[in-house]
């Protein structure tokens, strides 16, 4: 009854990344399997966000290689990653502030839209049909995330929790096969967290989307992840199923060392 965890789709091998001499990631390797929820945890500054940025090509690692669906990617550009079906959300909400919820989510479908500028200008025939067809898809996302009542609200006016939801919506609109979530529950209250958890599980379950998740809330991570990678100061100190990781002495000391 549970979803089938499949083969490895994403493989990170010996990734090292530094900014002007400061090492952000040191020789990190791990893999992500089809349909699984894979969490990356670690104290602040452990290099979690940098890891996501390497996966979808915002940062280019100095060493190591990333293999996605059998293809080795060097100097991957973010928009090419998007084309291959990788979508993501950001730690600090990166919505398009001047646009409505609907338009924000519509942008998520830009890769699937094929009409050109001239067709758009005329807004007739194919362009119009395409717009409507994708609006329908976007409405499904809106329905899925239960944000019907705010669909035409400018995102800047929304409370934080809802903005995070809209950002997830924009990522989902692309119908990604790999979804990278950077602290989707940061700054949320308990109820919002529960909702977000439910959405993440539903996405994973209903669409079979593989998810790489960065999250601080240990309870949530241990609950919903299939496997967890633990980073500390840019190095991998643990990797495995939640229970395994929980009892890993390195992980415990890293957490005790920082949080107390």
């Amino acid at each position: 009854m549970a979803r089938e965890i499949g083969d490895v789709v994403l493989k990170m091998e010996g990734i090292s990344l530094s900014f002007g001499g400061v090492k952000a990631l040191t020789n990190i390797s791990f893999d992500v399997r089809e349909h699984e929820i894979r969490s990356i945890i670690g104290p602040n500054g452990a290099g979690k966000s940098s890891m996501l940025n390497v996966i979808n090509g915002v940062y280019h690692p100095q060493e190591g290689q990333v293999t996605f669906r059998g293809e080795v990617r060097r100097d991957m550009e973010p928009h090419k990653a998007a084309k291959q079906g990788i979508a993501r959300t950001f730690q600090n909400i990166a919505l398009f502030k001047g646009m409505s919820v609907l338009d924000n989510i519509m942008t998520g479908r830009n890769l699937k839209m094929t009409c050109n500028l001239f067709q758009h200008a005329l807004h007739w025939g194919a362009a119009r049909k395409e717009e409507i067809e994708h609006r329908r898809k976007v409405e499904e996302v809106i329905d899925f995330l239960e944000i019907q009542s705010i669909r035409k609200t400018p995102v800047g006016r929304l409370p934080y929790g809802l903005q995070k939801r809209v950002e997830l919506g924009r990522a989902l609109a692309a119908e990604p096969s790999l979804l990278l979530l950077d602290e989707p529950m940061a700054g949320m209250n308990v109820e919002e967290k529960q909702d977000m958890c439910r959405f993440i599980l539903d996405v994973n379950d209903q669409f079979g989307t593989t998810i790489v998740l960065i999250e601080h809330d240990m309870g949530v991570v241990m609950d919903i992840s299939d496997r967890v990678v633990v980073l500390d100061y840019g190095k991998k100190i643990g990797d495995g199923e939640p229970d395994e990781v929980k009892n890993n002495p390195d992980v415990i000391s890293a957490y005790l060392g920082t949080s107390h």
């Binding site: 979508a87 502030k97 001047g98 338009d103 942008t107 890769l111 500028l117 758009h120 200008a121 717009e131």
Partner: protein
């Protein structure tokens, strides 16, 4: 107050995604167009047509062009006038050098020339942002004006690059009077405004705005920054180019490259700031405001202050008022007249409630 929206429900996405989803707006806009197309030619005198309505329309078009680039795609440009010049000289040369060139095709080709030049000067936008880019567009401003003066071929070897627009004839009908020129301008501007509105409310527009609001996120969802920015440059310059061609053909008649100087570029920038950055409607409001303001000052100041003031005082006053208004709008209403209009409309929709 005037709005009666209850019962205007949308049963299809077509209906929901109209440019004016509210019936009263649709009617209002049609009435407005009808008024300007039918009533104005009957009643307006030559001065109004030549000195106010035609320039307002042309500058509106140029402002739409700049708004596409700056307001929607977020790339600041200080060279709009130069692209107008390219359009004007382009159209002139097509008319001059190709026999039987239809006028409308010539201005579109003029616009395309401007678009090509726009893309060329837009190339730096791939690597540079913000002020740097604004400065780069100044290069376009200076270089283009210089080239049009110095390369005499463009002006058919006239002195200091002055060109005189040919007669306009479409399907055998000569557009020689102010009324016919006005109607022609109105037609082109309305059609192009509609096309612009369509662009900005479709994927193209959303990609522009995405790049404007947060380029990193835009790239991550698959938007190609280069292509998007260059498209904005091309479309924007095209609009400016067509506006420039109209400027030469239906407004001034005889133009020189120096007429398309930095001051004109600033004027267009002011139009979108005062009219509303990121609004097609605001482009019209801003153009009308900037064209009418000096006229209003010219008329009212001497009346109010009598002979005390000299002409130079009025022109300084103009500078001060322009400058002051820019600062004022940026502080008080950064989205300009369009936002004021929108707020007013919102109030009417919610009347009698305040919010």
């Amino acid at each position: 107050m005037l709005y009666r929206e209850a019962g205007q429900f949308k049963a299809s996405y077509e209906a929901d995604q109209q440019i004016f989803p509210i019936l009263q707006d649709r009617v209002g806009v049609l009435l407005l167009i009808g008024f300007f197309a039918l009533a104005v030619p009957l009643f307006a005198d030559q001065y109004w047509l030549k000195a106010i309505l035609i320039p307002v329309l042309i500058f509106s078009l140029a402002a739409i062009g700049l708004n596409i680039l700056t307001g929607y795609a977020g790339q600041l440009s200080l060279g709009s006038a130069a692209f107008m010049a390219v359009g004007a000289f382009g159209a002139y040369n097509f008319m001059l050098r190709i026999d039987g060139m239809p006028f409308l095709v010539a201005i579109l080709l003029g616009g395309l020339c401007a678009a090509a030049v726009g893309v060329l000067f837009g190339l730096p936008s791939l690597r540079i942002k913000g002020f740097y880019l604004a400065v780069a567009t100044l290069a376009a401003q200076f270089f283009i004006v210089w080239a049009l003066v110095k390369i005499e071929w463009f002006s058919n070897y006239s002195s200091s690059g002055v060109i005189t627009a040919q007669e306009i004839e479409i399907l055998g009908f000569a557009f020689d009077g102010p009324v016919s020129k006005y109607l022609l301008t109105l037609f082109v501007v309305v059609v192009m405004a509609l096309l612009a509105k369509n662009m900005v409310r479709s994927t193209t527009g959303r990609m522009w705005m995405a790049v404007r609001d947060m380029d990193v996120a835009a790239e991550v969802i698959g938007i190609r920054l280069m292509r998007t920015k260059l498209t904005a440059f091309a479309v924007s310059s095209f609009y400016c180019g067509v506006a420039g061609a109209l400027y030469a053909y239906t407004y001034i008649g005889t133009v020189e490259p120096e007429g398309f100087n930095l001051d004109l570029s600033f004027k267009i920038l002011f139009m979108i700031i005062i009219g509303g950055v990121g609004s097609i409607m605001g482009s019209f409001l801003g153009a009308a405001f900037i064209v009418l303001l000096p006229i209003a000052l010219d008329v009212t100041v001497p009346v109010l202050l009598g002979d005390l003031v000299s002409a130079s005082f009025v022109s300084n006053l103009q500078l001060i008022v322009f400058g002051g208004l820019i600062v004022f709008f940026l502080i008080v209403e950064p989205h300009g007249l369009a936002r004021l209009w929108q707020i007013g409309k919102e109030k009417l929709r919610l009347w009698p409630f305040p919010h």
